[in-house]
């Protein structure tokens, strides 16, 4: 009995000794380090992709903000031009109002070309374009050649984009 128990004990010792070895889940340290490094690489590449996508999204949002600013300035210029033309038509005559309206619309075109030149700056060109300066030259040439249009109201109408810019700056500073 004792012998058999001793035999049993001796027979069970290797089983007891071998079972913890087999059930030990701890892998060698080197493998664990390698696994951690590879998982870190995967996480960092995911983070890089997420960072790039968020950067692209923020750039798109900033471009949209620039487009919205342009739209606000154009709308303000149109409103100021219409207001000034109506006041001129009431106080002075209709031809002065038409001259002012022509000048205001050419100022709007000038502002559009200037905004396009600024939008290209740093992307496809390194200097500001000068194409927008053609607009006042053409305005003065057309006004001096046309007998119905007057020079001074059209020049004042051309400069009506400045009050709209000042209004835009004031509105931005308030908000």
């Amino acid at each position: 009995m004792i012998d058999s128990a001793g035999l049993y004990k001796r027979a069970s010792e290797p089983l007891l000794a071998s079972s913890p070895l087999q059930s030990d889940p701890a892998p060698p340290e080197g493998g664990e380090v390698l696994l951690e490094t590879s998982s870190d690489l995967g996480t960092s590449s995911d983070q890089l992709v997420n960072f790039e996508s968020s950067l692209e999204a923020s750039n798109k949002a900033e471009t949209d903000e620039y487009a919205r600013l342009q739209l606000r300035i154009y709308l303000l210029t149109l409103i100021v031009t219409a207001f000034a033309a109506s006041i001129t038509a009431i106080v002075f005559d209709l031809f002065s109002a038409i001259s002012l309206l022509v000048g205001g619309l050419s100022g709007l075109l000038y502002l559009r070309l200037l905004a396009r030149s600024i939008g290209k700056l740093g992307k496809s060109s390194n200097s500001l374009g000068k194409i927008q300066l053609v607009v006042p030259v053409l305005l003065v040439l057309v006004v001096t050649k046309s007998p119905q249009l007057e020079l001074l109201p059209s020049l004042l109408g051309f400069l009506l984009y400045k009050p709209s810019l000042i209004i835009q700056v004031l509105l931005e500073s308030k908000t």
């Binding site: 903000e65 502002l111 700056l121 500001l128």
Partner: protein, 82 residues
Amino acid sequence: MDSITTAASVVAAGLAVGLGAIGPGIGQGSAAQGAVEGIARQPEAEGKIRGTLLLSFAFMESLTIYGLVVALVLLFANPFAG
């Protein structure tokens, strides 16, 4: 319009455009340099930088336009022509 008035008007037109474009040209160059550097350093603020650049360029370039208008008036609608 006599020849002296014509010559003086042409010279004055050239001086108005040439001298009037010096200051805004320097200012626009430095403003564009600063804006491009700012966009390169902080691309997420591109919209705000471009918006501020649009406002400042519109005010700066109006100085050039003043000289241009004076030159064009002297050339095509001269008030001193007899």
